[in-house]
Symmetry: C2
Subunit: 326 residues, 2 copies
C-alpha cells in the first residue's frame, strides 16, 4: 500500500531542511541571507514557472519574462531589499524560436530600466516538454535590517499594501468567468494578474519599522499564516477593511463570495507586514514616500492561526471553495 504523499511543507521539512545552510533561515522564510559587502547582506530567492501551469502558452513572452522577474523581486521587496541582479535558466521547446526570445528579452530589458536589475548569467537548454523558466534573484539590504517572517508580536498592527484580489479576479476574467464588466475594469484586473508591481520602494522604507513581512503570493490568509507560524503568534483580520480596487469592489458588491479573491487567492504580490501600533505615523510616512497605499487590516494576537471577521465581528470560515459563517 502506497503511503499518502507528503505535502509541500512536509517535503521541505523532511527532505530539504536537513540540507539547509544557516543563512537559509531553516527554509522557513521566503529568502536566504548571506554576508555581502561591508555592512550588508545579500538576499537570495529562486522561483520556477511552467507553461500551462503558471502562464499560458500564448501569453506575450515579454509579460511572461517580466512576471517571472517580478515575482522574485516581490520577495526581495517584502524583505526590504534592493535588487542587484539575477540568474536565469530556460528549458525551451523548439516552438520557442528567436522571435519568442526577442520578445522575452525585451520584457527583461524594460524591467531592467524600471527596477535597475540586470542579468548575471544562466543557461538555456532544450526540452521536449513545456517551457520551464527559473530565476534566482539577488538583492541587498543593510545587515540586521532584512524584514523576516519571525518578528511579529501580539499587539502589532497588520498592514497590506495596494489592493487585494485584483489578480485572482483578473485570472477569472481571462478565463471568461466574469461577465458584465466594463472594458476598462477588465483591462485593469487582467493587467494586475499579468504584471504584478513589486513594492520595492515601500519595502526598503519599511526596514526598521516593520517587524515581520511577506509578499502575498499564495493569498493573504496563507502568507500572513506563514508570518504567524514563524513568529509563534496568531492574527485577526477584518474583511471589511481589506483594500479593494474600484473594479474589485463592484464585482464583490454583486457577488459577495468573491471577497475570497482578496483573502485566499494569490498572485497579488502586495506586501503584508506587522508593525507596532506606535509606529503608525512612520508607516504612513513610508507609504507616502513610496507612493503606495497602505491599509491596516487587523492585529497580531497571542495564539496561532489567522482568523477573519466580517463587518459584524462574526468569524468567516474560509476554504478553497467558498466561505461561511461559523
Amino acid at each position: 500500500m502506497a503511503a499518502k504523499p507528503l505535502g509541500e511543507f512536509a517535503r521541505i521539512a523532511r527532505f530539504f531542511a536537513p540540507l539547509a545552510l544557516p543563512g537559509a533561515l531553516n527554509l522557513r522564510d521566503d529568502v536566504a541571507l548571506i554576508a555581502g559587502r561591508r555592512g550588508e547582506h545579500y538576499v537570495l530567492k529562486a522561483d520556477a514557472i511552467v507553461e500551462g501551469v503558471h502562464f499560458f502558452a500564448d501569453d506575450p513572452p515579454a509579460d511572461v519574462a517580466r512576471k517571472l522577474l517580478r515575482v522574485n523581486l516581490s520577495d526581495l521587496a517584502a524583505k526590504g531589499a534592493i535588487p542587484v541582479g539575477y540568474l536565469l535558466t530556460m528549458a525551451l521547446p523548439k516552438s520557442r524560436n528567436d522571435r519568442w526570445l526577442a520578445s522575452f528579452s525585451r520584457g527583461l530589458a524594460a524591467d531592467r530600466r524600471k527596477y535597475r536589475v540586470g542579468l548575471f548569467g544562466g543557461d538555456s537548454v532544450a526540452t521536449r516538454g513545456p517551457t520551464v523558466l527559473s530565476l534566482a534573484a539577488i538583492g541587498r539590504v543593510a545587515q540586521g535590517r532584512a524584514i523576516l517572517r519571525d518578528g511579529a508580536r501580539p499587539g502589532d498592527v497588520v498592514y497590506v499594501s495596494g489592493t487585494l484580489g485584483d489578480a485572482a479576479l483578473g485570472l477569472a476574467a481571462i478565463k471568461g468567468r466574469l461577465p458584465r464588466m466594463s472594458r476598462a475594469a477588465r483591462r485593469y484586473l487582467e493587467r494586475r494578474y499579468r504584471l504584478p508591481e513589486p513594492r520595492l520602494g515601500l519595502g526598503r522604507r519599511l526596514t526598521g519599522i516593520a517587524r515581520a513581512a511577506a509578499d502575498i503570493s499564495d493569498g493573504l490568509v496563507a502568507d500572513l499564516g506563514h508570518v504567524c507560524t514563524a513568529s509563534g503568534v496568531g492574527a485577526v483580520i477584518e474583511a471589511a477593511r481589506l483594500p479593494l480596487s474600484a473594479a474589485a469592489r463592484s464585482i464583490i458588491a454583486r457577488s459577495p463570495g468573491r471577497i475570497r479573491a482578496a483573502l485566499t487567492h494569490g498572485d497579488d504580490y502586495e506586501i503584508v507586514f506587522a508593525a507596532p501600533s506606535h509606529a503608525s505615523g512612520r508607516v504612513a510616512a513610508a507609504a507616502r514616500a513610496a507612493g503606495v497605499r497602505v491599509t491596516a487590516v487587523g492585529r497580531i494576537v497571542a495564539g496561532r492561526g489567522v482568523r477573519v471577521l466580517d463587518a459584524k465581528g462574526r468569524r468567516l470560515r474560509l476554504s478553497r471553495v467558498g466561505y461561511r459563517h461559523v
Copy 2:
C-alpha cells in the same frame, strides 16, 4: 520565408548580452562575479538539466542530484572559487514521488558532506512534462584572484586535469555502443559519466598561477576555444599528450577514432588552464597538493582557434562525426 534560427552564442549576444550587468563579464565567461565579504568576490553560476536530454528518466535520483550540483561546482572550481551554497528549483511530474525525492535529497546530503556546500532555498513546482532541474551555485574567491577566461597569453602552457574522454566513453557504454570491455573498465567509465569530480582542491590552488581557465563541459577543443576567443589568442594541442585512463587507452588502442572522445566530447568536468611556462614548478606543486594529475597538452599561440596535432605533427581536422588529417 523563415530566417535561419540563431545559434546558442548568437542568441546570447543578441538577446541577453544587452541585459547583462558588469559583473556578468559580458556573459563571455562561465560565471559572474559580485562583491562579497571584505576582500572577496562571490562567483555565481546556474545550469539546468532536463530528463531525457541530460539524464535518463530511470537514473538513480541521488546521482542526478549530485551531477546537477557537481557540474555547477565544476565551474566554481575552474575559477578558483570555494563553494558556499546553492539555490535549487525543480519542475516535477507526478511520477517524481516522495521516494524519488528522498533519494534525490540523499545525494545532495552526501555532497554536502563531501564539498561542504548546502542549500539556500528554492522552489518546487508541478509540470506535465519531463523533470527539469535548475541549480544556481554561489562560491567565493579572494578579490582579483578568480581565474577568468580572458588571461591566456602566447607562450603559456596549456594544462588539463585528470583524464579526458572517460565520460563520453561511459555514455557510449551505457548506450551499449562499446562491446568487449571488462566489467571494471565499464563501471569506471560509467561512473565518470554519472558522477563528475569537480576539481575544487586544484582550482583554488591555481589562483595566482593559472592565467585563464575553464571547466571541460563541452569538450576540450570547444572549452579551450572559449578561453582562446576571450583571450584573443590561439592554441595548439598535441593529441598524443592527452591524459587517458587505462580504460580509455585500451578502447582507443583498438579504435583510434575514439580519441575524439577526449577532444570534442564533453561531460569530463576536468579543468583546462593556461599558465606561463616559468610557473611549471608551481603548477606541479598545486597538483600534488590537490592530489590531482595535471598534464601539459599544448601551448597558447598568437592567432586564433584551437589546432590539434597528431604524434607526427600533422593537423587533425575534427568534426562531430570523426576526424581526418589535413
